[in-house]
Amino acid sequence: MRSLVLFFAVGCAGVEEPRDPDCSDRPLALEKSPDHALEGSGWHRVYVQGASFTPDANGRYGMAEDRIDIEEGDHFLLSQGSVVEWEYPIRDTLSGDLFLHVARTDEEGVEARHELLLLHDGETIELASVDENTDGVTGYIPYEHCFYQADAAIEPSAGDSLLMRTTNLTGGQLGVVVKAPDYFTWFEIEVE
């Protein structure tokens, strides 16, 4: 697995000039995988399932590329250290460029960590991570962040999957929102 170089598009001291400070440098056309696993060149949008979706034995929720397949329900994380995770299989090589969109509610002072990880051969490998502590009031205020990988290619093996995780770092009110028709949580990722 080649090492990954992350360029944060928003506010990291000491990092090169952001390539895309407003995260708008993404194709408008999105691809959809033929099966329930990330496959096919282009950008894909992957939605997270809501709390009504039955989690697996590990407590992880699924994901889907079609909003019609998404079950609603906000994920409430109140305790410090509480996490919610979603898993999605991958079949094609990923460039690693990623755009994150988290619809969430929180109270002022709450800090969340949003991560994208690769589950590979029994290991959990971090692909991207951002800590979010933007001041907010309870309400549906989406958080957006983009990552651009330089000199990185993530070649999956059979059985690999992506894991998206949100952690409440501080405790306090934090909700990841999944509510039709307007409030979904998702990421877009480029498949080579």
């Binding site: 809501g50 709390a51 009504s52 039955t54 989690p55 590990n58 407590g59 609603e72 329900g73 906000d74 409430f76 994380l77 109140l78 305790s79 410090q80 250290g81 509480s82 996490v83 919610v84 995770e85 509610t105 109270e107 960590r113 309870t138 952690t167 770092l169 009110q173 909700g175 509510k179």
Partner: protein
């Protein structure tokens, strides 16, 4: 907090047997001593290194739970309903209770299943990745994990309902322990009906 090992729950099948020691003594000695001992055969003794966990309740202090206990449901600030759960554990890497980002922190998943249909989808589920607080005797505890009931379910699904609380603890070494207890979750005396999400 006194550490109270509860091996019997975790090591089902490793039962301890009661032996009457007077069988090998003279009658006078037996009359004087009348010893009855409880002992475990060496093969049944739990190893100190084995991972174990016991589910309990409580937000700021640990409260042991036994089958048929009642646990009050509280309404949270965002309108949802929840119960405060805790655990005690041992034989695991405890991590750092002061830093939720430490890679060595173990993962604990609490789930609530309706007793009348244990195979049904959980009424609520929460996973916490957090360091455990040492409490002495090589044991740890984790307090105040809020299990929030699925807000898409009608409150009748969990108000005054018998349910099985299951906890699974996994540390970074891959050591795993689980425990369960049957409780009744009591509806709050006062609450406001939340807006439905669907």
């Amino acid at each position: 907090m006194q550490y109270k090992p509860t091996y019997v729950r975790q090591f089902a099948g490793h039962g301890c047997q009661t032996r009457d020691l007077t069988g090998n003594w003279s009658l006078r000695t037996a009359a004087l001593l009348s010893l009855v001992a409880v002992s475990c055969t060496p093969a049944d003794e739990p190893e100190l290194g084995d991972a174990w966990v016991v589910v309990g309740a409580g937000e700021e202090s640990y409260s042991e739970l036994v089958d048929e206990d009642e646990v009050p449901i509280v309404q949270g600030p965002q309108g949802g309903f929840m119960i405060a759960l805790s655990l005690q554990a041992g034989g695991v890497v405890g991590g750092d209770p002061l830093d939720p980002t430490k890679p060595a922190n173990p993962r604990a998943t609490f789930q609530a299943f309706p007793s009348e249909d244990p195979e049904a989808a959980p009424l609520g589920s929460i996973t916490v990745v957090r360091g455990l607080t040492p409490i002495g005797g090589k044991a740890f505890e984790l307090l105040g994990t809020w299990l929030i009931f699925d807000p898409s379910l009608p409150v009748e699904s969990y108000f005054d309902t018998d349910m099985e609380i299951v906890v699974t603890l996994v540390d970074t070494e891959g050591d795993t322990a689980s425990d369960s207890v049957a409780i009744t979750a009591l509806a709050p005396l006062e609450y406001t009906v939340p807006e439905t999400t669907q």
